[in-house]
């Protein structure tokens, strides 16, 4: 019995021979960024098992141990490696849990944006006409206000409607919703631009002649060919969503201090900056910057490699 070699190469071998992997192997910055990113995601996901204490558990918090500095500064307590915040929470544990919250909101918001943006972009690009005009006008208006501004206004309204207590209880899904709704236009414009480039190609005509439905042509035929700009946008958007969440939290429109994200940790530390407790602000700040930076670096690398025609402006 002879084994026949499959005519179509498997996904894995295709990946191994791809330009993507080749350029990744040659790009030290991309490799470092990916390692740091995976490490950060891993410690954030494993926070409940890695963190020395649970910052959500009031019983473990010792108010007497508040505002202790990190280990390399005089007056520190070896139990608290990175020091403690103003409420006596171990800063390292709080940062791990906070990074988790930031990442959940970042990825959740981008998933929602992608869902909205890709659907609207496909509809606008494929159907054209009034649908296109309406959706793109809406996107233009939202973009001219800037996504952060929209997020701040929507966040303020949602908080006013639900009241502070309810908002805090459902802060994570609400923030995903707010940031997702505020930032979909980026996706929609990019997807629409690539759909416009694709829709007059012959394979689309062929599919139409064969009598496939519009929905099938949109999702099964056109969408796969617009994936590379979507990938590139997604990386940048995750970074943006994390920054937006941090900004909202910093303004007091985001995560409550009892369940802090990196942004609300920075905010709570800011009040103690004048009294010399710089670590409560600057250590979570550093984690946030590193997280966003490696995502941005990966996005830059991906854009250089995939080189999609991104929608400018």
């Amino acid at each position: 019995m002879t084994t026949t070699t499959p005519r179509v190469a498997s996904r894995w071998s295709r990946f191994r021979g791809s330009y993507l992997l080749y350029s990744f192997k040659r790009d030290l910055i991309a490799q470092l960024s990916l390692v740091v990113f995976i490490a950060l995601v891993a410690v954030a996901v494993l926070a409940p098992w890695l963190a020395p204490m649970n910052p959500y558990d009031l019983a473990q918090i010792d108010i007497m141990a508040s505002e202790l500095p990190p280990f390399w500064v005089e007056g520190s307590d070896p139990t608290y490696l990175m020091g403690t915040d103003a409420q006596g929470r171990d800063l390292l544990s709080t940062i791990l849990y906070g990074a988790r919250v930031s990442l959940i909101i970042g990825f959740g918001a981008v998933a929602l944006q992608a869902l909205l943006g890709v659907s609207f972009g496909l509809l606008a690009g494929y159907l054209g006409g009034r649908v296109d005009a309406f959706l793109m006008r809406l996107a233009d208006i939202q973009l001219s206000f800037s996504t952060l501004m929209v997020a701040i206004v929507v966040g303020a309204l949602v908080k006013a409607i639900f009241g502070g207590a309810t908002f805090s209880a459902y802060a994570v899904p609400l923030l995903v919703l707010i940031i997702g709704l505020a930032e979909w236009p980026q996706y929609a414009r990019t997807v629409r631009a690539s759909v416009l480039a694709e829709r007059h190609k012959e394979y689309v005509d062929a599919a139409r002649v064969m009598g496939f439905t519009s929905r099938r042509i949109m999702f099964r035929h056109i969408l796969p060919n617009t994936l590379s700009p979507i990938f590139v946008i997604s990386t940048v958007q995750v970074a943006n969503a994390i920054i937006s969440e941090a900004a909202l939290s910093f303004l007091g429109l985001g995560m409550p201090e009892t369940q802090p994200s990196l942004g609300s940790l920075i905010k709570s530390g800011f009040d103690y900056l004048q009294s010399g407790s710089w670590w409560i602000t600057l250590i979570p700040g550093l984690v946030l910057v590193v997280l966003v930076l490696v995502i941005n670096l990966l996005g830059d690398w991906l854009r250089d490699v995939l080189n999609p025609r991104l929608y400018k402006g």
Partner: protein, 348 residues
């Protein structure tokens, strides 16, 4: 051109209409004005009479038309916090924000063009790589964190010595991170009054020192965006046929770069600049909060925290108006500068 102008104006009016609907919906749904006006002890029948008298029981359309009519006369009611007409409150806070934005724009224009052009002309020089590296780090630092770090470094000062002081390199590193502090980082100081409610920070050296840290923070987020944009556009332009032709003709490189190429680079930058004004206003909210800069952004945040609905609405309407005007102007300028742009706005 006239058709384009009319179309643009119509578009602007439509956007303002949408904003006013949103603002009205907020006013309609948030906070009961009767509760704000009368105490707990007033019986329901009197409340109902007051409601009828104020026209709160009228149909939605009637109420909206009344709101829009007042809005056209810039009458948005009284602010709960300040107990003054909201437009007056906004006008009082406007100069501070405008001065901050102006100082930031100066910084952006002064630095982004030379750096962007340089890193496009010499993409492989180490200085270009350095600028690109710094700008991606700049994009990754949230504006409020830049502000906090600036406060720590230049206002509070750094006196910690985390490195071992008994070794030579440790002492050197400790010296390196130690800063004096002392820069003003809270509020505007004593701005010099010019006329009416407008007092300026540009008139005195002391006023300028108050402006330095907030303007740098605000610029720190916008500058990298513009550097990257100018570089990308310039790189594209330098590849084009007419630049090659100009070079073949023997025109001096300096003339090609700064006269021929830069002109076409700035076109997309103008459009981007218009779009970025929205981002800039959003970031003023964050910057003003950190520095307690008494501008519109800080006022808006206070209004949100204390549910001052009329003030929130006025801010939204006025900021919306600013966006719409700048976007329309940018479109018009773009149409004037680049006649090949399809003025009718028809899809290509």
């Amino acid at each position: 051109m006239i058709a384009f102008l009319i179309k643009r104006l119509f578009h602007a009016l439509l956007v303002m209409f949408v904003i006013s609907i949103i603002a009205f919906a907020i006013q309609d749904n948030l906070g009961d004005p009767i509760q704000q006006m009368v105490g707990q002890s007033v019986p329901e029948s009197e409340r109902e009479a007051l409601r009828e008298q104020l026209g709160l029981n009228d149909p939605f359309l009637v109420q909206y038309l009344r709101f829009a009519g007042n809005a056209l006369q810039l009458d948005f009611g009284y602010s709960y916090i300040f107990n003054q007409p909201t437009t007056e409150v906004i006008l009082r806070h406007l100069p501070a924000t405008l001065e901050l934005v102006f100082a930031t724009t100066l910084l952006i224009v002064l630095f982004s063009v030379p750096i962007g052009v340089y890193s496009a002309i010499r993409p492989r020089a180490w200085l270009s790589r350095f600028f690109m590296g710094v700008s991606i780090i700049g994009i990754s630092i949230p504006v409020f964190l830049t502000a906090i770090m600036l406060i720590q470094l230049f206002a509070i000062g750094v006196s910690w010595s985390p490195f071992p002081a008994d070794t030579g390199w440790g002492a050197w590193l400790n010296d390196l991170i130690t800063t004096e502090g002392g820069m003003p980082a809270y509020g505007r100081g004593n701005p010099v009054p010019v006329f009416g409610t407008w007092a300026t920070n540009f008139a005195s050296l002391e006023g300028l020192t108050y402006l330095v840290l907030p303007a740098i923070s605000l610029a720190s987020i916008m500058l990298p965006l513009f550097i990257r944009l100018i570089r990308a556009e310039m790189l594209e332009v330098l590849q084009s046929e007419y630049v090659k032709f100009a070079r073949a003709k023997g025109i001096s490189l300096r003339r090609i770069y700064f006269v021929h190429a830069l002109k076409n680079t700035m076109l997309p930058v103008i459009t981007m600049g218009g779009v970025q004004i929205g981002t800039l206003v959003a970031y003023t909210i964050l910057t003003e909060t950190v520095f307690q800069w008494p501008g519109m952004g800080l006022m808006f945040l206070n209004a949100i925290q204390r549910s001052d609905v009329p003030l929130i609405i006025t801010y939204l309407m006025i900021v919306g108006l600013i966006f719409v005007i700048t976007n329309t102007l940018v479109d018009l300028i773009y149409g004037l500068v680049n006649p090949t742009v399809k003025l009718t706005g028809k899809p290509a």
